[in-house]
Amino acid sequence: MSFLGIGGNQGAPSGGVNTDKIEMATEQLDMITDVYNRLVESCHTKCISQRYTEGDLNKGESVCIDRCVAKFFEVNKKVGQKLQSLGPGATGGAGGSAFGSI
């Protein structure tokens, strides 16, 4: 299993339901849905005219969407590489440090 370049493979026992794995897969699904929704939102803002004089995508909008998605994945890769280069310690403040005193 892998999500946008993060994650790895684990062997699966045969038979029975491993609830931890189901939970992980469900979280992955939530994450990918979240990313997809953000992508739809961002590219809509970047590419779609808000005047709505027609219901079809025009040529310019269609091309813009294709490039928007491609560029978004490029940005995703760069941010991922940057985070990995900084190591786990550097990102402690973003998402974790609010719980520092527990």
Partner: protein, 88 residues
Amino acid sequence: MDFSTLNTAEQAHMSRVIEKKQMQDFMRMYSRLVDRCFNACCNDFTSKALSSKEEQCVLNCTDKFLKHSERVGARFAEQNADMMSSQS
């Protein structure tokens, strides 16, 4: 996504999870769509009735958003597939 590391029982379970999620996602998409088209098309509150101009805007907005989402989804799936194959 790749669920090949899950066994048969787990895959069956995930199918049910995905089914539920798709219903939820549809409802959320519906709700965001109403929100988006309302915000883009309705700016006159001297009347509570939808003008024909506003109505046309809402219909176009709905239409265009669905086509937009579909195109984004298709490109998203392609990019995701590319990334998967370049990793393995």
